[in-house]
């Protein structure tokens, strides 16, 4: 078994128009910049995939990574908890112009909905959001005298996730707080595509140290020295200028 894919372009080749794509990361920590840029590269060459629904905690920052994906016009709808950042201009302008749809989800509910999808739990109850505008239209139930909102699982066709070390079976470790949504998204997606800073043979990761077991991972591609969103933005990097210019 070898889940390694030789190139970023091949890794993102099978993502269809209209797909729901989960993208790991919390802000720049864990953002799979190279996978995202490979997906934009493909769109700029082929016109596909378009009309994506993207699930991420945020809505991008500056003009690279998720922000560039949105700026390229590939995203129809965003499901996130916090569409603000140091430089959220790309999303903000499209949103205020009515050109991108937003489903705002409380962060813990977002995490749990994704976790539920991976765990085969179609719905669960949470106290989060009860009595607020974000619970409008959702079923409510009382347990032990307290009111809860029913939330549904959130599945995806594809997850794009950044890991630290992968083995050829797809077992993953992460780096510090870059872990965040990664393990949940791998399990919630029909196809989890992972960029890893290091790929080792099966047996190269201590079974005790595995954070995402390989059963949740479908493709692994090596990105040995991955970009860090925050570093790119501090030097005002711009996907479009760098690719075009």
């Amino acid at each position: 078994m070898d889940k390694t894919i030789p190139s970023l372009a091949e890794a993102v080749a099978g993502i269809d128009d209209g797909a729901t794509v989960m993208i790991g990361g919390f802000g720049g920590s864990g953002a799979p910049i190279e996978l995202i840029h490979a997906l934009i590269d493909r769109y700029r060459t082929t016109g596909h995939p378009a009309g994506l629904t993207v699930v991420n905690n945020n809505a991008g920052n500056g003009h690279i990574g998720l922000a560039a994906l949105i700026e390229a016009g590939m995203v129809r709808k965003l499901i996130c908890s916090f569409p603000r950042s140091a430089d959220p201009v790309v999303f903000t302008e499209l949103y205020l112009a009515g050109k991108i749809e937003l489903e705002l989800v409380p962060q813990g509910t977002l995490a749990e909905r994704i976790r539920a999808a991976g765990a085969g739990i179609p719905a669960f109850y949470t106290p989060t959001g009860f009595g607020t505008d974000l619970a409008i239209g959702k079923p409510v139930a009382v347990f032990d005298g307290r009111s809860y909102v029913q939330e549904r699982w959130l599945k995806a066709d594809v997850a794009l996730v950044k890991a630290e070390t992968a083995d050829t079976h797809g077992n993953l470790t992460y780096r510090a707080a870059a872990r965040n949504f990664g393990p949940l998204m791998c399990a919630a997606a029909t196809r989890a595509i992972v960029q890893a800073s290091r790929i080792v043979p099966a047996g190269g990761i201590d079974p005790e140290a595995v954070i995402t077991p390989g059963i949740f991972v479908h493709s692994v591609v090596l990105v040995a020295d991955p970009a860090q969103e925050e570093v790119l933005n501090r030097r005002k990097a711009n996907y479009f200028e760098e690719v075009q210019g």
């Binding site: 078994m1 765990a119 085969g120 079974p207 595995v210 077991p213």
Partner: protein
């Protein structure tokens, strides 16, 4: 050829349908035997409910590590690429549809796909383990079983009479006499022992057998 397959032969036949790289859970007891018969060149990844992916055979006696056991509480070893995880993650793998195949034993299987394999009735101490999760989790749920009970009663029925493990969950049954798919609420006969006539098999089966296309001979090596 004997008049029916041995347990090892049933397990062998089931093993032929497991693809290379498949994620597989084998029920405790008889189904564990399937792991022995992986065809050359294929390597499935075995999952056990208690939190291991990619475990291997039992260690030599005296070298057991009793923190390294399978769901049947038997000592196992690890293969390269193994992983440990807790019980909620383990059943996320099960319930979340991440296993390619689960192979379970059965008291009874119905043409509806219903399975009864956890309770023979109100007497004794009931025990269910992970069976009810497995039948609603794996992408493909197969059963290996004798075709009839020890006293000759059919185990393949139109409706189960014992307490159910799951509803409409089994899609393939490997028995000591035949291989059957369950499709659209019917048993479709795929393979049968060559010496056995359709009518003879039907007489040993508590539900109507259907044919859709060819019925192949069930050929299994001596084991």
């Amino acid at each position: 050829m004997t008049d029916k397959l041995s347990n090892a032969q049933i397990a062998w036949r089931a093993a032929q349908d497991i693809a290379d790289g498949a994620y597989v859970n084998l029920g405790i007891g008889f189904p564990e035997m399937v792991a022995k018969f992986q065809p050359p060149g294929r390597q499935a990844i075995f999952h056990t409910e208690n939190g291991i992916l990619n475990f291997g055979e039992a260690p030599p006696e005296g070298e057991e590590d009793w923190d390294l056991i399978n769901a049947g509480k038997k000592a196992v070893t690890l293969k390269p690429g193994a992983a440990f995880f807790h019980h909620a993650d383990s059943f996320a793998m099960v319930r979340g549809g991440h296993l390619d195949v689960a192979i379970l034993g059965a008291y009874q299987v119905a043409e509806t796909g219903d399975l009864a394999n956890w309770s023979t009735g109100p007497k004794g101490v009931p025990a269910v383990g992970g069976a009810m999760d497995l039948v609603h989790g794996a992408k493909r749920v197969a059963v290996i079983t004798e075709h009839v009970t020890k006293d000759g009663k059919p185990k393949l029925l139109d409706r189960c009479t014992l307490p159910l493990t799951g509803v409409a969950c089994v899609t393939r049954v490997y028995t000591s006499l035949a291989v059957l798919d369950i499709e659209g609420g019917r048993f479709i006969l795929r393979e049968k022992l060559p010496a056995l006539t359709f009518d003879a098999l039907q007489a040993l089966t508590g539900a109507a057998l259907h044919v859709s296309g060819n019925v192949a001979d069930l050929h299994v090596p001596e084991l």
